[in-house]
Symmetry: C3
C-alpha cells in the first residue's frame, strides 16, 4: 500500500486535502462567515485553488465538484462566483445541493481532481 498524502489542517481529526495515486480530494468553506453567498463562495473557491497548488495542480484538473449551499434561494449568487472562477475550457461535473451547514456557513465545496 502506497502512502496517502494528507495536508495538515486546523484540527487533527480531518484533512483539508488528500492525495493518493494521482487522485486528489479537497474541501473548503469560507473563513469569513460574515460574507454573502457570493463572497463565501468566492473565498471557498480561492481556498480550493490554494489547496490544489500544494500538490502541484490547478483548477483545470478538477473532475468533479459538490457544492453544498445553506439557502437554495441564493444559488444564483453561488453560480455568479462559480462562473467567474471556473476554467470554462475545463469545466468539472458539478452538483449543487441545498443542505444545513455549520453555524453561519453558507457554502461548503468538495472537489475531486486528477494529477
Amino acid at each position: 500500500m502506497s502512502p496517502i498524502f494528507r495536508l495538515p489542517g486546523a484540527v487533527k481529526s480531518r484533512a483539508p486535502l488528500v492525495e493518493h495515486d494521482g487522485l486528489v480530494f479537497a474541501v473548503a468553506v469560507a473563513t469569513d462567515k460574515s460574507g454573502s453567498m457570493y463572497q463565501q463562495t468566492k473565498e471557498a473557491l480561492a481556498t480550493i485553488d490554494q489547496r490544489l497548488a500544494k500538490v502541484g495542480i490547478d483548477k483545470s484538473r478538477i473532475m468533479t465538484a459538490q457544492v453544498f449551499i445553506a439557502d437554495m434561494a441564493q444559488k444564483p449568487e453561488m453560480n455568479r462566483a462559480w462562473d467567474e472562477w471556473v476554467d470554462m475550457s475545463n469545466p468539472p461535473m458539478r452538483a449543487c445541493l441545498g443542505v444545513a451547514l455549520e453555524g453561519r456557513d453558507l457554502v461548503e465545496i468538495i472537489v475531486a481532481a486528477a494529477k
Copy 2:
C-alpha cells in the same frame, strides 16, 4: 498529466460527465420537471445510461451512486424506479439523501463508474 475527457453540456461552466484514467463521473436530473418522483428518477437514470454510453460503458460498471431527492416522503417512488433500472447482478454502493434542489427538480443523481 494525462487529459481529462469532459463531455460538453448545456452550459460551458459544467460538464455532465468526466473521465480520467479509467474513472468516470456523471450527473443527471430530469428535463421534464412536471414528472413525478418516479418519472423524474426514471428519466435521470436513463440519462445516466446515455452519458455512460458516450465513454463506452453501461450501468454494470457503476461503483457508487448518490441520489439526492427533494422530498424524503417520496423515497419509495425513487426506489421503485431504481429497482426497475439497476443491474441486480452489479449493484452500486448507494446513498439517498433528502436535500433542497433547484426549482421543480425532485431528484439529482451522481455516479462514479469504472471503465
Copy 3:
C-alpha cells in the same frame, strides 16, 4: 475491463462496499435506530471498519468521508464519536452535511479509501 468487487448487502439493489483498481467505497448507517446521534455515529463507524476489513484495509486508508446527519444541532455528538474513532495520524478529508435521512436514521456515512 477488470471486475468490480461488490460486497453483498441486505438488498440486491445496492452494495454496502465496492472495490475496483485499488479504490474502495463504503456506506453505513446504524442498525439500532433508537440510538442517539453519538450512538448511531459510533455504530455506523464501526460498520465502516468491518466493511473495510472485508477488503483487507482499515480506517488508516480512508481518504474522504461524507457524514450526512439529520439534525445539525447534534453535530457535536457526531463529532465526539468521530474524534474517538478517527486515526489522528491518518485523518480523512471530511464534509458534514445536514440532510433528511430515512426514518429514524440520524447519520449516514460514505467513505472513499485506497488499498
